[in-house]
Structure formats: structure tokens, C-alpha cells
Symmetry: C3
């Protein structure tokens, strides 16, 4: 029979670990640390970025960070701002939903150049919680972006 206290504790630890994992994306993306960003995902994880295609596997995800679009953002100055996610936990897997806003710097000013919906699928493996799939879609009135948040 499982200890109810230990069980309740584990639920909180799981939620904390997932929140922390997602909180690391923005700071790592803004330092340009491609390998560390990719390591948030599982080996075969997927990152589908609205308007920019789908990266499959850590090397492809790292390539998004080391690629010209992201490097140009870093050179100008940018912030990948994510909100604290709403988390639905189900044993060793979870779905989290949040917003992301990318601010881009230009001439001493910043503009929110991407405002997007994010749906994260996460799984607990031998190395703890990892991202299995992240879908990101611009909140530009499209039904597909709204659907990620429901």
C-alpha cells in the first residue's frame, strides 16, 4: 500500500519539476546555449514552432538555436518570456499550457514580435521529466493556436 504522504509529496515534486523545466527554456534560449536548450527535450523530442516548421530530435532542436534566425535575435537583443504553465499531470506524463512572448530589441526599444500559445507534452524517464513535444503557434486569430490552449 503506498504511503499517502509520500504520494502527495511526489505529486508536488512532479509539478515543481515540470514548472522548473519550462522556466529554464527562456533563460537558456536567451543565452544561445543550443545544447542545453535541446537537453530539455527527450532524445527524440519534437519542437513544432509556428511558422517555422518542426524540429525532431535534439540535434534539430539545437540547430534552431544555433541557426541564423535565433542568432540574429540574440545579436539584436531578445527575451523569450514564458508564463507559469497550467499543468495537467497523469502519472508519468503531463500536459502543460502557457503563453510565450518574444521581445526583440532595436534602437533602445523592444517590441513583442512573437506572441504565441504553447502546449507541452512531458514524460518522466530515467533522467527525470523531459519535453516530448512542444507545439507553439502565433496568437494571430487562428483557431489552431487557440486550440493549443484548450
Amino acid at each position: 500500500m503506498p504511503d499517502p504522504i509520500a504520494e502527495r509529496l511526489r505529486l508536488l515534486e512532479d509539478r515543481e519539476a515540470i514548472r522548473d523545466l519550462i522556466a529554464r527554456y527562456g533563460p537558456l534560449a536567451d543565452t544561445g546555449n543550443a545544447e542545453a536548450v535541446a537537453a530539455l527535450w527527450s532524445e527524440d523530442g519534437v519542437y513544432a514552432v509556428g511558422g517555422m516548421g518542426e524540429a525532431r530530435g535534439r540535434p534539430a532542436i539545437a540547430a534552431l538555436i544555433s541557426g541564423p534566425v535565433h542568432q540574429s535575435l540574440l545579436a539584436d537583443g531578445c527575451a523569450h518570456v514564458l508564463t507559469s504553465p497550467a499543468i495537467d499531470l497523469a502519472g508519468d506524463s503531463a500536459v502543460a499550457r502557457c503563453h510565450s512572448v518574444v521581445f526583440r530589441h532595436e534602437d533602445g526599444e523592444w517590441a513583442p514580435v512573437r506572441v504565441a500559445a504553447n502546449r507541452w507534452e512531458l514524460r518522466r524517464g530515467a533522467d527525470g521529466w523531459q519535453v516530448v513535444r512542444r507545439d507553439n503557434a502565433l496568437l494571430d486569430g487562428s483557431a489552431a493556436a487557440r486550440a493549443l490552449l484548450s
Copy 2:
């Protein structure tokens, strides 16, 4: 005598539940799910929106989401971005304070059209934590908006 471990655990669970409740508002508002938004509140809950009057009870809160102002936002593309709240817990009730920013999409760009202070009164009932009252006021220099955060 209460078990001190169980007591500490419950405090953390309460804070987690409140944070999660507030984290659900933005994604639900941006999907336009009026009933799910309203269900974050208690039956007789109040949502006082700066510059837009006061909605009392779930049907009135749902009407804010299904009404023309919010539907126009959704059609253009929007994000209801909330910060992770500072929570003051007192037994079965709590007060949480956070910011909210509404980004509105237009012609491939986004603008922060509402930047507001939010004060949430929450209560734990038979169905868990619910919002009893949310006050929202535009941070436009007014003392009333600042007062919500103190």
C-alpha cells in the same frame, strides 16, 4: 494534535492549487471557453474589470467572455498573459496579487493594450479552491490600481 508533516504538505498543496487556478485563466480566456472561465469562480463570484464594470455570478462572468469585446479580441488574436502570483494564505481563504497584460494582434504585430493590477480573493470550498472576487484595474497612474497590489 495535527501531524506537522501533513500540515506543511497541505500548505504547499494549497499554494500550488491557487497558482494553478490562476494559471488557467489566461489559456481559457484565449480559447474563448466562457463556461470554463466562469467555473474558476465560485457560484456567486465577482469579476470587477477596470473600465468595464462588475460581473456578479458565473453567468455574468461567462457573458464577459462570450460578449462582443472579448470575441473581437479573439478574432484579431490575443494573449491574456498573467504573472505568477504572490499568495497570502490564511486557512481556507487567500489573497493573491499579480499583473496581467493583454496583447492584441493586428497586421502581424502585437501591442500590450491592457496592462493591469490584479487582486484575487480565493476560498476553499467543497470543490476545492475557487475565486471569490477578482479586481482588475489598469496601471495608468491611478492610485486605485496601485492599491490592489499592496
Copy 3:
């Protein structure tokens, strides 16, 4: 021998306390409560604000809030929006990293006038967790700002 359940619980409590401490900065800054803002720091704490020098000790930190730059922001209307931090805990000390965005109101509109990287050093003392040092740097393409997030 330490109780493993109590140990796990304390780790969660520490992370919750740190997150809560950081979540209080924005609302307190936007109410202009200089003493309450300064009390988030230890007596000899440091707040190094990008482009505005370094405040050492609570009186100097309070002076940032009661000073003309911040008071002008408050008069116009502002929001100090912080993201939920990524926290690295090590016993009685911790490092947390997050973004901050200052929105300034003017003529019914808001603009993100400061978008910055933040690195917090925190310590647990007799009065609980406090900020020992906060470094803040504008994300304007400078390597120094990016370094705070890594």
C-alpha cells in the same frame, strides 16, 4: 539520520519561498512601497540595476523606489512584470534566473521600456529567505546581460 520525507518537503518549501519572494518584487515596486521592497533583501543586500548603478544595503535600495526615476514611472503608470524563475537550490543558498519587463503607460498605451535579464542570489537566514544580490541587465544584445541567464 534525517527523515527523507521531511527533507523532500523542505526542498519544496524552500523553492516555494524563493518563488514567492521574487513574485513580491513587482507588486511592491508598483505600489511604490520602498521599505517593503528593500525588506526583500538582506540588510547588506545589493541591487545592481543595468544602466543605473549599484545600490548597496536596504536604505540605498529603498532610495531607488522613492527616487525620481521610479516615482515618475509610478505617476505615469507602470508594471514591473517578472517571469517565474528557474531556481538552483544548494542548501541555505540559491540562484534564481528570470526575465523582467517594465511597461510604461502614456496616453492610454503601454510600452515595454525595459526588458532585462535577472540573476538573483538568495540566502536563508534567521528571517527566512532573502535576496543577497540581484543583477539586472538590459537585453539589448550585450553579452553581459546574456551571461546573467546562463
